[in-house]
Structure formats: C-alpha cells, structure tokens
Amino acid sequence: MTWIHVYLLAVGAVVTAGLSVVSITVGLAIGILVCAASLSRAAPLRWAARVYVSFFRGVPLLVLLLLIYHLLPQIGIDVPGVVAALVGLTLCTSAYQAETLRGGFVNIAPGLVEAGRMIGLNATQLLVRIRAPIALRLTLPALVNEGIMILKASSLVSVVGVGDITRTAQNLSSSTYRPIEMFATAGVFYLLLNVIVTRGGNGLGRLLGLPRT
C-alpha cells in the first residue's frame, strides 16, 4: 500500500461523492414534482406518480443500471457509463424521496396551515414558507438516511465501468494482489463520506429549528 494507492482511491471517492451529490439533488427536485403529483387533485397525475414510484422502487438498482446502460445505445443515445450511472441513481432515489416527502406533507398539523391563512399568506406562500419547510423538517432524518443509502448503493455503478471507490479498489487489488488493504481503505473512504452527509443533515436541521440530537 503506497500513497499512490490512497491517492487513486481518493480520486474514486471524489467520483462517488459527485455521483451521490448530483443524484440526491436532482432526485430531490424530481421527488418534489412526483410528490406534488401524488398529492394533486387530478386523478391521472396521482396515478402516474404511483406508477412511477412503484416502478423505480420495485426494480433493483443493479438491474436498473444495467438496463439503462444497455438500453440507451440501443435507442441511439451513445453516452458514457457515468451518465447511465447518474440517470439510474437519480431515478431510483427520486422515487424514494417522493414517497418520504409525501409522508411529510400528509403529517403536517392542519392548524399550522390555518395559522398561516389567518395571517394572510396566500397559497404559494403557504407552500413555500410553511408547508414545505415543515415537511422537510419532518422528513429530514429519512432524507439523510436516503443520502447514506445512495452513497453506499453507488458502489453498484462499478458494473457500468465508472471509476468510483469500489471500482478503483477492485482494479488496485487485482494489480497489487492486496485486496484486504485496498477494500479496507475503500471502506474508510465510504465512512468518511457518510460522516459528512450526517453532519450536513444536522446543520440543515439546525437551520430548520430542529432540536439538537
């Protein structure tokens, strides 16, 4: 084990972190839209949201990744493995986040919204200033959990040739014949990234007025 190996694994960690951050944020944006659809008054929208969520929660991520990786070139879209990985991770996490957020919105105490109406907030202000932050607050622990899940699940992208932590560790173990050191270091990098996610979640919680845990 040399510093070169650690450096290469650190590069893999940047790839893993990048994949996770992009898929979590884009997944949150899509998740908000899907959640809005699932709470909408229009039955077709609710139905579409339900199908979307069941599909992407039901298909294993590994299968989804391989499917996208092989499907995109078939329909004439030639993209690198990274894009297939991002699309797969994003679709998967968006479905989970949509469900989590929906639970948050449904559980908002009606009195909090009524208090906003009495103050004179309009529908948009009620959503942006009251309902969304409170839903986010109620679901923050679950969303941090989802971040950790995606971070770890992103190790599956090695199957589509993306050089993340896991893939780098695999390559290094076959070239050095020292798999234990390589995978142990890879594990440490995953742990470090998870600590950052947890810290970030706590910081966000404080911004939303959650009591310290």
């Binding site: 208090a115 004179g120 907030l121 309009n122 202000q125 007025g209």
Partner: protein, 266 residues
C-alpha cells in the same frame, strides 16, 4: 347595519353531513367589547369561531365583518354567491386568531413567527419587520425570548407569542378558541393577563373559554351556546347573577364544581 357592530351573524347554519352543528345563529359582537362564548363540549363553539374566521364555510346565512360579507353574499333575490378569494382575504385581514394548540411554526424562532406576516403579507423591510415584531414580543413580555424556537418555550410563552403574531397584523378583531385549555393551571394566568390588557386597550374580542372567572370579570357580553343554538345571552352580570336557564345553571354547576374541587385539592 349599525356602525358599532364588528361581527354580525344572521341565521348562520353549519352542517357536517346531516349533523347540524350550528342551527341558525344570530349574533352581534360590538366594537370594543369582549364577548365570551361558553357552553358544554360539542355545543358548536369552535365551529362558530371557525366560521367567523372562514376556516369553515357556513352552509347558510350570512356573516359580516365590519359590515362586509364574509365568504358568501346574498343577492337581492335571496340567492347565495361565493365571493372571490381576494375579497375573502381582504375581509379576513381584519381578524386575528389564537388557537388552543398555539400553532406556532416550529421552524421559525419566536421573532420569526411574529415577523412572518409583516415580511410576507405587509412586505415590510427586514429591519422594520424586526422592530415591529420585537415591539409586539415586548408587549407580551417575551422580548428576551425572541430568538428561541417554539420547542424551547413553555406553553404559556408559546401562546403569548401566538397572540403577538396575531396582533402584529394589526387586526380590528381578535378571536380566541380556548386559549388556555391546553396549559397547565399555573400557566393560564400569564395568558389571561395578556388578554385582560388587550381588552383594557379596547380590542374587540370574541373568546371561547371555559374560564368562567375570566368571562365574569372581563366580558361585557356573554353568549351561552347549547345544542347548536344560542340558549342565552346578555350582559355578563345578568347572565351569571341569575342563571335562570336550566341548562346554563347545570353548566355553571359543572364548571364551578370543577373550580371548587381544585380549591379543595381534590
């Protein structure tokens, strides 16, 4: 419509399914007076208050706030029309409401709760909203708790912040739905004191309460609701001195008994 009437209800009906919760309520709440709404559980007090706030839509009759119809208006031919949402918001701007469960927004500090309407609805600048919100917190004795989140405040403090939040919007009428009912007995006093001060300053108040003492001492007008109807109303002194109405006598006995049992340490 006479100028000194703040709230008028005429034949107001509210139903949940085929259960009639308000059966043709006629009520006048005068400017500058405290009107207390009392009555047994399930008699419709909260529903009446929520209709006046238009948090519930009445099924028939008309409610006027300062003369302006709330939510629905009647055409000369007697048909009923729903008013546009902007008109509802305009009329509702005259009303502040305080809830039994406080309903402070948990993601904002005490100051943030009070400043929210000033910033978002009145569109004041940050500095001015801050100063006005601070002034209202000071008025309810909570200036030094401005940066606390609701979860860090006692029930009594939360309710006083909720009163400040409503007052910050400069309402002409304040509605209270059992503002002390979810408080420990030793905390009700601080909230009732704030309300007493508000009454002394001439605020028009419609208060649902089980605090018979508050109703007897502070209210000018007491309304006894029973089985979805107004069973008895009048000046506080008359209503409480001679509770000639049998249901009222029974109701008072229950609540005064409850007070007595507290005194006896039971």
């Amino acid at each position: 419509m006479s100028g000194d009437v703040a709230i008028t209800l005429r034949n107001v009906v509210k139903r949940y399914g085929d259960h009639e919760v308000l059966r043709g309520i006629d009520l006048d709440v005068r400017h500058g007076e405290v009107t207390c709404l009392i009555g047994p559980s399930g008699s419709g007090k909260s529903t009446l208050l929520r209709c006046v706030a238009f948090l519930e839509e009445h099924d028939a009759g008309i409610i006027r706030i300062g003369g302006a119809p709330l939510g629905f208006d009647e055409r000369p031919d007697g048909s009923r029309i729903r008013l546009p949402i902007t008109e509802i918001a305009r009329v509702r701007r005259n009303i502040g409401m305080v809830f039994q469960q406080f309903n402070l927004w948990p993601h904002m500090t005490a100051l943030g709760n009070v400043a929210e309407g000033l910033r978002q609805v009145l569109r004041l600048h940050k500095r001015e909203a801050h100063d006005r919100a601070m002034a209202h917190l000071t008025r309810v004795g909570l200036a030094e708790r401005a940066s606390y989140y609701p979860s860090q405040l006692s029930g009594g403090q939360q309710q006083r912040v909720a009163i400040a939040r409503a007052l910050a919007m400069d309402p002409k009428i304040m509605l209270f739905d059992e503002p002390t009912s979810s408080l420990d007995p030793e905390l009700t006093g601080e909230v009732l004191n704030v309300m007493r001060d508000l009454a002394a300053e001439g605020m028009t108040m419609l208060v649902v309460t089980h605090e018979i003492g508050f109703a007897a001492h502070v209210a000018q007008h007491v309304v006894f609701l029973d089985q979805a109807q107004i069973a008895l109303e009048g000046r506080a002194s008359d209503v409480f001195r001679k509770p000639w109405h049998p249901r009222m006598a029974q109701f008072l006995e229950t609540y005064l008994d409850r007070g007595a049992s507290v005194l006896l340490g039971n």
